[in-house]
Assembly symmetry: C2
């Protein structure tokens, strides 16, 4: 009766009840890494430059890590790139997400799927 | 520098973009099962009776399952209990959550923990 059920998950990391890393935040960092520009990353996230900059600085402060490196000036304005720690964090978080995504499918299949779909196959045994 | 980081997750099940089961909803059903009373379950969730009843009926409609059974009347008013399918769903969802919780810890430990904690052990090798 019920079709296309699918399990979903949201992941994040807290420190003392405070959000310090999330799918959203890692996406911002990833876009900085891909574009080499905080302005472009901000635009793709629908954030003002100022807001995006504040987010990045907040992430760095919460984690005590320098995640981006900025270079000022030049013809097209400055550039912002990920530091080695920033790149490692984005890569590690993506692996964390992928692993959880695989387990989500497996756990749903094993523990819930059969209980939620009342699908008794009708005929079809030609 | 950053202490007590901990990974978190939220789980739910969708059908065609619509929420059909969640940690919150399964808690409501579980409380009905524990108390044998929708009124008590509603109170513990901070919901009005009417609201809680609507939620339960919505869950049943979305899943196409009869999850609760009501008995009207008697001295203390009616009772509401979980059906066999309702009990199976609560149990299955709890197993699903527990399995995901174990994987959360394991995946965090393996993929993220070392990148987030800049803990260089200072001395202490007495």
């Amino acid at each position: 009766m019920v079709e296309d059920l699918s399990p979903r998950l949201k992941l994040w990391v807290e420190a003392g009840g405070r959000l310090v890393m999330s799918d959203y935040r890692v996406r911002l960092l990833e876009l900085v890494g891909e574009s080499g520009s905080l302005a472009q990353a901000a635009e793709q996230m629908g954030l003002s430059y100022r807001r995006a900059w504040g987010k990045v600085k907040e992430i760095e402060a919460n984690l005590g890590l320098a995640l981006v490196q900025s270079e000022v000036g030049g013809a097209g304005g400055g550039h912002t790139v990920l530091s080695e720690e920033g790149r490692a964090l984005v890569t590690g978080y993506r692996r964390f997400q992928e692993r959880m995504g695989r387990e989500l499918d497996a756990a749903y299949e094993a523990e819930l799927k059969g209980l939620l779909s009342t699908s008794e196959v009708d005929g079809g045994t030609t």
